[in-house]
């Protein structure tokens, strides 16, 4: 079948860009790619096809420079590639763009910022420029309704995919674009636009690798088709004369009329372990399946067709009768994503297995460890792991880890097992033993649902449901299950498909008002703003003479040092950290400034710089050692306090005249504190939004891993954040010196917790990368005005802290409420 016509003429292909020779790759002992050779030519659309697990992703990872092959070589523009160098170079330097199946945009950034993040740096760009360019780049989807100023988190999956595609397609100096299932969420219209775009790009001389499961797309686009099967190059040839049937047979499916979708028999449901009827949630549509005792049921289909969602929905519904899902009380879940969903990494093998049986081996809540241990050993020897019982689970090979996790499911004695791709990345031998265990389970009358990315595994199943785009597309009995049939059904296109969300008709009249209301509701600083405005109103109503220049000055004066401090705390939260030493750091800055700035200005400046350096040191500790920022700053707080007390045991010193004069400046009509607070808020805003580095800092705070994978330095980012926080701590200390005319290490000790509260009320999220400096400053003002109004109203100040706590809770509940009513 293999058809090597690399030497043949390629009417579309220009010069060879990348040529790969005899690439092989194995993980552990499992060979996923075997001896594949391939040329990528400029201007050619290469469609890469293959069933799940055929080695497509591995191939793309090697070409894209994120993986090194076990053997084989590559040449770019005829120059042989040194893989170490190639991998470290970063994708932009390689002129390769890749659109991932798993989205790699940062949800906390706007579309424009996401597009700018990876763009070629040519000096700082203005915000308007960034937005203009983004709008321009998004025009690859003409007529799209994506607001480039909207956060990606607010976009639909389809829109996010469009952003990713636009990013890859419009990056300058790109020579190869790799599109991995780019249309999985797109509507037909957008897919058409993409097809045009791909053709246009190819005509410009860019090489395209297009991975898809949609055969009609392959037929429409391909200049050349490459089929991988079982890690081997199965076909490599001209794609323009192929037919749908020819492709199917290349993929290993027999060509026959599609079998009818069998209606579900619900009659004998009483003996079932599980029955799901017309389940529709998330991406699932009208799914109905059943599992009887002693049955192993397969859920087949292409990746992302809804299999995992179905398993999760079934697991979430255990011990509850949700209507759509009726099941036995106990269900065990075995995930192939061992690291994220399986392993308890601090424990040994035995403990990892026994955890699910703990409730059964307990009397009155006390665990019978010896009984548990005895049973655990039985399970382990059944699995052939008794030698490794005491080994840390992380020291095991993938296959053995998976067997241990299967052991955990056995230990739970749940009658129904959900097997979520349990053989992912394990070798043949381990696979065989996993199958053997499954057979034993069936004999004991336990049932299971198996989802696998490898079609061959479904031979074990009594019945196989094939899912396509969230629906059950076909059901086969044990007798009828063949690989070919499953593959064919996977590519079925359900007839009554509703268009994905990208194409929803624009809302009728009044939509604009609703949209702006929704936007207001989704504004994270809304609680802080509402609170501040209402507190101002109440204060002016209670005490009309507060509505004057002098009155405002008195109202706002106390908030100024706290506002600087809040920015310092906000920078920590921006990076996903917390500073529990902030209060004493400000106190120390206050002491240093009051002690040295007048008599020895140089020493004073050096000392303050030293404090900032201390923060940089903390950044190293947190970033390089992975120490929790809470603990690191807590330790530092003792040190700040100690140094402060050593330098100045009792309050004193003096404020430099220029500094005192600066805070005494009288402005009209808005007094200095008013102007300064606004300036602080704007400065914070600039750091978070306007600055050249700010987009990256927010990206880092949101997802450190993706940030690093883009080739940016997380250390540099964290050092920047901490150093800036240190600078703001120093500024806060200086304002305190000016306001109080002396140094006192205890002066700001209440700031630590107050700043956390204010930043959070102001709209920050602990997920990192989501802060609102303007909101934080408003929260500072609002919270201090609460105290003011209590005084004005004659309410005992005992309640002010309680009210502060309640505001915190309310602001946060408001946000989780707003989040839950959003679509």
């Amino acid at each position: 079948m293999q058809q090597n016509d690399r030497s043949a003429e390629h009417p579309h292909g220009g010069a060879v860009f990348i040529s790969a020779r005899n690439l092989s790759k194995s993980f552990d002992t499992h060979e996923v790619l075997r001896d594949v050779s391939l040329d990528i030519r400029a201007g050619e659309i290469l469609v890469l096809l293959g069933p799940n697990g055929a080695g497509k992703s591995t191939m793309l990872n090697i070409l894209g420079g994120t993986l090194r092959p076990s053997s084989g070589g590559m040449a770019v523009d005829g120059e042989p590639v040194e893989f170490d160098q190639y991998i470290s170079k970063g994708s932009r330097a390689r002129s390769i763009q890749r659109v991932f199946q798993e989205l790699s945009t940062f949800p906390n950034l706007t579309v424009a910022e996401n597009l700018d993040l990876t763009a070629e740096r040519s000096g700082a760009r203005s915000r308007r420029e960034i937005v203009r360019r983004a709008a321009e780049r998004m025009q690859v989807f003409p007529g799209n309704r994506i607001d480039v100023c909207a956060e990606v988190a607010r976009l639909s999956v389809a829109e996010r995919q469009m952003v990713e595609i636009a990013r890859a397609m419009t990056e300058p100096n790109t020579r190869l674009v790799i599109l991995d299932e780019p249309t999985s969420a797109l509507s037909a219209h957008e897919a058409d636009q993409l097809a045009e775009l791909v053709a246009r790009k190819a005509a410009e001389g860019v090489a395209i690798i297009y991975v898809t499961h949609k055969l009609e797309e392959a037929l429409r686009l391909a200049h050349r088709v490459v089929v991988l099967r079982d890690g081997k190059l199965h076909f490599d040839g001209d794609g323009r004369n192929l037919t749908h049937d020819a492709l199917l047979s290349l993929l290993g499916a027999t060509v026959e009329a599609p079998s009818a979708i069998l209606p579900l028999s619900i009659a004998d449901a009483s003996s079932d372990l599980l029955s799901v009827q017309w389940l529709s949630t998330g991406c699932l549509r009208d799914v109905s399946i059943r599992v009887g005792a002693g049955e192993l049921v397969g859920i087949a289909g292409l990746e992302g067709a809804g299999q995992r969602e179905l398993l999760q929905a079934i697991f979430a519904a255990r011990e509850r009768d949700t209507g759509a899902v009726r099941s036995v009380s106990d269900i065990a879940y075995i995930s192939g994503d061992r690291k994220r969903e399986g392993l308890l990494p601090l424990w040994n093998v035995e403990d990892n297995v026994a955890i699910s049986a703990v409730p059964r081996f307990a009397r009155a809540g006390v665990v019978d460890f010896s009984g548990l241990k005895a049973r655990a050993h039985e399970w382990l020897s059944e699995l052939g792991l008794s030698q490794r019982a005491d080994s840390p689970i992380v020291s095991l090979s993938g296959g053995n880890q998976q067997r241990a996790l299967l052991g955990r499911a056995l230990a739970s004695e749940a009658p129904l097992l959900l097997l979520d791709d349990p053989t992912r990345g394990v070798d043949v031998k381990a696979k065989a033993s996993i199958y053997a265990i499954l057979d034993k389970l069936k004999e004991k009358g336990r049932g299971g649902i198996l989802y696998s990315t490898e079609v061959a595994e479904f031979h074990k199943c009594d019945r196989v449901y094939v899912m396509a785009r969230g629906r059950v597309a076909a059901e086969f009995d044990r007798m009828d299950v063949t690989e070919e049939r499953i593959v064919q059904a996977s590519f079925l296109r359900p007839t009554d498909e509703t268009p994905p969300s990208g194409e929803i008709a624009p809302p009728a009249g009044g939509g604009a008002r609703e949209a702006s209301l929704a936007r207001l509701l989704s504004w994270r600083s809304l609680p802080a703003a509402v609170l501040m405005v209402s507190m101002f109103a109440l204060a002016f109503w209670q005490q009309p003479n507060a509505f004057s220049s002098f009155g405002l000055e008195l109202l706002l004066q106390a908030s100024l040092p706290l506002a600087f401090a809040v920015l310092a705390q906000m920078l920590f939260l921006l990076g996903g950290d917390i500073d529990l030493g902030l209060g004493f750091a400000i106190g120390l800055a206050n002491v240093l400034a009051a002690t040295y700035l007048v008599d020895a200005p140089v020493l004073g400046i050096l000392a303050l710089a030293g404090l900032v350096a201390g923060y940089v040191l903390l950044a190293f500790v947190v970033e390089l050692l992975g120490v929790s920022s809470v603990v690191a700053t807590l330790g530092a707080s003792f040190i700040w306090l100690g140094i402060g007390l050593t330098i100045r045991e009792t309050p004193g010193g003096k404020s430099p005249e220029w500094l005192s004069a600066a805070v005494q400046v009288k402005l009209w009509p808005l007094p200095l504190p008013c102007v300064a607070l606004a300036a602080v808020a704007l400065l914070g805003f600039w750091i978070c939004r306007g600055w050249g580095y700010s987009i990256r800092l927010r990206a880092l705070g949101n997802n450190r891993r993706t940030y690093v994978s883009l080739g940016f330095s997380a250390l540099a980012g964290r050092v920047t954040l901490y150093a800036l926080a240190g600078v703001f701590a120093v500024l806060s200390g200086l304002v305190l010196v000016a306001a109080t005319g002396a140094g006192n290490v205890h002066v700001a000790s209440s700031f630590t917790l107050a700043t956390i509260a204010a930043v959070v009320v102001g709209g920050a999220s602990f997920a990192g990368g989501l802060v609102s400096p303007v909101g934080a400053v408003m929260a500072v003002v609002a919270i201090s005005l609460v105290t003011t109004n209590l005084t004005f109203l004659g309410i005992s100040s005992e309640y002010s802290t309680a009210i502060g706590g309640l505001i915190l809770v309310l602001a946060l509940s408001f946000r989780s409420l707003a989040r839950s009513i959003e679509p």
């Binding site: 004066q557 004193g652 306001a739 002066v747 100040s797 005992e798």
Partner: protein
């Protein structure tokens, strides 16, 4: 004199009613004074005493025809809140502000605001501020030191090993009290300080820190402390199964009851010397004097009372642990002895 002035808080209501009934005549011109009182934190007995004294003085003055209204705000231990509250009182246009400053420095700006709005500010009780525009009514730490060390020296014959429990590190009042002790101790070179701990003006911290080093101090004859630590120190000694050494007690009910209990058990003798919450009544009197146009000096010192065991036994048996003793100073006494005594 002291015996008459020292009253239990529970007597207040009765005396107050009596005073209202008897002294009804408009001895002074009828006007209304609104006085803001900014307290640092509520809840310790001393602060409760201070507030009670201030309210007693206000009621006394009102009875004499000066209509005095107190607006009390509490900063819950946070200097920023106190700044805010000071500014609020200024905005509200009170006539006078009595301030127990939470920080020696942080409030300077807020005091400037009030003074430039024509509102005099008097700092008292907890400490002073470095702002010279504030009227300062401070406890006489020198007198405190002399009485305190004097009593101890008299009892020990001027010699012995002393454990020194200090207050909150980095506080100016703490340092002032400490300095006064050291000055007075200079007269008694045979009193040796063998160890020094910081009790943070926190009973619990004082007790724990003393308890943890106590086994290393086999001979302690004297304990020096500032206010709240005396009780904690005694508890540490008792918990270690040791005799409570000679120390001077404070005005808290807990202190007083402990002293009486020790005396009943073993004849242990001592006195109570402390900074007096009754300074609250002095502050209100000074405020009214100032507002009545009397020339008030910028710096005044309040006396330090010493209460003997005999007085405690006769007048203050069975007071609650959470109560505090304080001395009543009336308006005339204040005019004569505090304001007149420049």
């Amino acid at each position: 004199m002291l015996r008459n002035m020292v009253k239990r808080r529970s007597f207040l209501a009765a005396t107050l009613l009596l005073a209202t009934a008897l002294a009804g005549g408009p001895a002074l011109a009828k006007e209304k004074f609104v006085i803001g009182v900014a307290t640092p934190f509520q809840g310790n007995g001393w602060q409760k005493g201070f507030l009670a004294a201030a309210q007693w003085a206000a009621a006394e003055l009102s009875a004499k025809g000066k209509n005095v209204e107190l607006i009390v705000v509490d900063a819950a231990g946070d200097p920023q809140t106190q700044i805010q509250q000071l500014n609020n009182l200024t905005l509200q246009g009170v006539d006078f502000i009595i301030l127990e400053p939470l920080s020696d420095t942080a409030l300077n700006g807020a005091i400037d605001n009030a003074v430039s709005a024509g509102i005099p500010v008097l700092t008292t009780a907890l400490g002073s501020v470095t702002n010279p525009k504030a009227i300062s009514l401070q406890l006489d730490y020198n007198e405190l030191g002399e009485k305190y060390i004097g009593y101890i020296a008299q009892r020990t014959g001027g010699k012995g090993n002393a454990l020194n429990i200090r207050g909150l590190a980095g506080n100016a009042a703490e340092q002032a009290i400490q300095d006064a002790y050291i000055r007075s101790l200079a007269k008694y070179p045979d009193i040796k300080i063998v160890s020094e701990v910081y009790g943070d003006w926190n009973q619990s911290v004082a007790q724990q820190r003393v308890a943890s080093i106590l086994p290393t101090l086999p001979n302690v004859d004297i304990v020096l402390s500032q206010g709240v630590a005396a009780f904690g120190a005694a508890q540490a000694f008792l918990a270690a199964g040791r005799e409570v050494p000679l120390q001077v007690y404070g005005f808290d009910g807990a202190d007083v009851n402990l002293l009486l209990e020790l005396n009943a058990k073993s004849g242990y003798e001592s006195v109570a010397i402390n900074s007096d919450p009754g300074v609250g009544s002095l502050a209100v009197n000074v405020a009214v004097a100032k507002l009545s146009g009397i020339d008030v000096p910028m710096k005044m010192v309040a006396p330090i009372p010493q209460i003997t065991l005999f007085q405690l036994k006769t007048d203050h048996k069975g007071m609650a642990d959470s109560d505090t003793l304080w001395v009543k100073y009336d308006y005339d006494w204040t005019l004569k002895n505090l304001i007149g005594a420049k």
